[in-house]
């Protein structure tokens, strides 16, 4: 059992948990992920490591409630436990002094981009951060990102905060403005990563994306997470999760992401119905 030491609600449906997992924290690096299971009958879901504290032995995860498991996770409070928690999985981001890098976070992708930006700056890079959200209330960690980056630009799809535009609009401006950029790291919803990759391809700007394919074990045992990168099949969990964005077959990825759509919907319906019942009878789910 792994205890939740801290919970924060960052935005509607975006939550942060600090979970006690000393063995994971000891080795965690930016770019890696964990897999957790909320309860005994639960699914194994991957979440990126958004931060870690080796001394306290905690891992920070930031997640968006999209289906049954993430909603259930969102109901847990400080002091509660998750059943299973394994990591650090996947390869860490390759941190180096590239001179100037751009780190792009879209939506909940801001969380995993944060430790990468911080590590890049610590390695001596000039880090230009770009973060985007659909609307003002979904913006979180602006302060943390500002501290982690040399310069931060924020945008919202609807213009309700700072400016209107997609992260790709800001990225284009940054590239035009700065010229020499060695690397772009982009994490967010797959359509955003694809759009970033399409843009940077035109500028020949090397781009790393972090893929979120469906997973089961996360150790290379099942092949559920396979993606095509540069015409070759790779396992996201052990060969990634970061890959060259210009080589990823995003089309395939998008189609594989919805394999279980009907089942996911059913699980969510049953879950929310149960939740509703719980409210009505006031028995606390007994």
């Amino acid at each position: 059992m792994y205890k939740i030491l801290k919970k924060e609600i960052l935005a509607p449906s975006i939550k942060l948990l600090e979970i006690e997992a000393p063995l994971v924290a000891r080795k965690a690096l930016a770019g890696q992920f964990i897999i957790l299971r909320v309860q005994d009958k639960g699914e194994r879901i991957p979440l990126t490591i958004a931060d870690f504290d080796r001394e306290k032995g905690v891992i920070t995860c930031v997640f968006q409630e999209v289906g049954k498991t993430t909603r259930e996770l969102g109901t847990l409070d400080e002091g509660d436990c998750v059943r299973d928690f394994v990591g650090p999985l996947g390869n860490p981001t390759h941190i180096d002094n590239y001179d100037r890098v751009v780190c792009v976070g879209g939506g909940v992708g801001v969380a995993p981009v944060y430790p990468i930006a911080r590590a890049m700056k610590e390695a001596g890079n000039e880090v230009i951060g770009i973060m985007g959200a659909r609307t003002a209330e979904l913006v979180f960690w602006e302060d943390k990102m500002r501290a982690a980056c040399s310069e931060l630009r924020v945008t919202t799809d609807d213009g309700s905060y700072i400016r209107q535009g997609f992260v790709t609009d800001v990225l284009r401006e940054v590239i035009e403005e700065k010229g020499d950029i060695a690397l772009c790291v982009a994490i967010g919803p797959p359509p955003m990563m694809r759009a970033v990759a399409n843009l940077t391809r035109k500028y020949n700007l090397k781009t790393v994306v972090s893929l979120n394919s469906l997973m089961v074990d996360g150790t290379g045992m099942c092949g559920c997470c396979r993606v095509t990168v540069g015409g070759e099949t790779k396992f996201t969990c052990v060969d990634g999760p970061e890959f060259d964005g210009h080589l990823v077959d995003f089309d395939e990825m998008a189609r594989r992401a919805v394999i279980y759509k009907p089942q996911e919907q059913k699980a969510l319906d049953i879950y929310t119905e149960k939740g509703a019942q719980k409210c009505q009878c006031g028995c606390g789910g007994e």
Binding site: V24, D84, F85, D217, G220
Partner: protein, 467 residues
């Protein structure tokens, strides 16, 4: 007593669930002997002085002795006798390929059916499960720490043997439940998970600590376990969990699974109980399983239970060459699994949504024997045809997971990535590091993995006493 006993020519039948009924559930297929049948079967044994059956058992169980005890209804001593050599008789009695091992050498088998050694073994183990486990002998702690990587049959056996000798043993397991293939691979209907977990509980009673959710190579490397974590020796039993694919076009389409994924979702994650359990599995109307081993049979039989209308095993050689156990093939056929022999796919077809719609295959014929002595399948030119399926399960074998070798400097491996270890001791190229089971031999059997775990335990004990 000098009277010569009359031998029944056939094994006592083991009752099984009706094929039609069982194809719709996940309960165990073979129901096990009654006490009467177990005793009657034990009485078929001739108690041969030269014990030919023993040489067929990889762990050399004293077969005549345990059978004699069973014949006297002394099941307590029978199980004790079994456990001298085999830590998990309840598992082996169910899944050992007995026809190629102990029973193959049975004297009775020359004239009649051999003694059903495995079934009697299983009866004794189930008797123990029903009547409470025997107390296990242990030594006082000797202060030495051993780490076991992987909790499959190899790791569990090695851990049990060392714990009994007073070692402080910690098992590190990557998944959230210990047991290895016994939990995630072999289906409930062949090996109930309660049987495996009972064995794991016995191990905990011996004082073995089991850390699940612990991927060695990630939270700590083998070197770090020996260093910072303070272990004196390590046994690596990480199995052969890396799925092989065909490398044909269309293999990443939706509806194509590795057998590992298909079986892990079903067994470990209990997708057959969705939505009570959260992990889903999507199964179509017509399923094709590629391969011909135990794994393929398990997948094909699982597909029927999950509601597939048709479940096909597609194998590139003929029925005679099927590597799966006869009993499993028979059970599969009874349940309605169908076979396409001398067939191999060249391409998986899919629709606009990327879902599987069919498989383009080539017809094969058998040519000259190859290195394995089996006749080589040769494709017939121009014989392309398509079969209409909507789910494909690839069960053509597994390799060793490279995670541990890749993160352990100086650990010698062969070309296929298997860890090189002395088969007599399990010793690897690194001092204090031992290995055994599928990660050394490639995918083999439960009993061989257990044997390797036991061998290594002996060698680790000798090594640590010598240090």
């Amino acid at each position: 007593m000098a009277e010569k006993k009359k031998i029944a020519p056939n094994k006592n039948q083991m009752p099984a669930q009706d094929p039609v009924e069982r194809a719709g559930n996940f309960n165990e297929v073979a129901l096990g002997y009654s006490e009467g049948a177990a005793v009657a079967e034990a009485n078929r044994c001739l108690q041969c002085k030269n014990e030919p059956c023993r040489q067929g058992c990889p762990v050399e169980i004293d077969i005549p002795a345990f059978i004699k005890l069973a014949a006297r209804r002394d099941f307590k001593d029978a199980i004790a006798k079994l456990k001298e050599k085999n830590a998990m008789p309840g598992v082996c009695g169910r899944v050992c390929p007995q026809e190629n091992q102990c029973e193959k050498y049975c004297t009775l088998g020359k004239k009649y059916e051999p003694v059903a050694i495995g079934r009697i073994e299983r009866y004794c183990a189930d008797w123990e499960l029903a009547n409470g486990a025997l107390p296990q002998k242990t030594c006082s702690p000797n202060g030495k720490k051993v780490a076991i990587v992987g909790s499959g049959p190899a790791g569990l056996t090695c851990a049990a043997d060392l714990a009994k000798q007073g070692y402080q043993v910690t098992i590190f397991e990557a998944l959230h439940i210990p047991g290895g293939v016994l939990m995630y691979g072999i289906p409930e209907f062949r090996l109930p998970k309660a049987v495996v977990q009972a064995e794991v509980q016995n191990l905990k009673k011996l004082g073995v600590e089991i850390q699940v959710n612990a991927v060695v190579g990630k939270f700590a490397t083998v070197d770090e376990l020996m260093g910072e974590h303070g272990f004196d020796a390590i046994f690596i039993g990480t199995g052969a969990g890396l799925p092989h694919f065909m490398r044909i076009p269309g293999e990443n389409a939706c509806g194509v699974y590795s057998a590992n994924e298909f079986l892990t979702r079903t067994n470990l994650m209990k997708a057959y109980l969705f939505p009570d359990y959260d992990t889903p599995l999507r199964i179509g109307r017509k399923v094709a399983v590629l391969g011909g081993g135990n794994v393929a049979m398990d997948a094909a039989r699982t597909a029927l239970r999950l509601g597939a209308e048709e479940s096909w095993v597609v194998y590139r050689r003929s029925k005679n060459e099927l590597p799966a156990r006869h009993e499993e093939v028979e059970h599969a056929e009874e349940e309605g699994v169908r076979f396409k022999f001398l067939t191999s796919p060249t391409r998986i077809l899919y629709n606009d949504d990327y879902w599987v719609t069919g498989m383009e295959c080539l017809q094969y014929e058998l040519g000259e024997p190859d290195e394995s002595g089996r006749r080589r399948p040769v494709p017939i030119k121009g014989s392309e045809f398509t079969i209409d399926v909507d789910t494909v399960v690839v069960a053509i074998g597994q390799g060793p997971n490279p995670l541990v070798p890749r993160t352990t400097k100086g650990l010698a491996c062969n070309r296929k990535g298997n860890i090189t270890a002395d088969l007599e001791t399990g010793a690897t190229s690194l001092p204090g590091i031992f290995a055994g089971g599928d990660v050394v031999t490639g995918a083999a059997t439960v009993i061989l993995a257990m044997g390797a775990g036991r061998t290594a335990a002996r060698a680790i004990d000798a090594y640590l006493k010598g240090v």
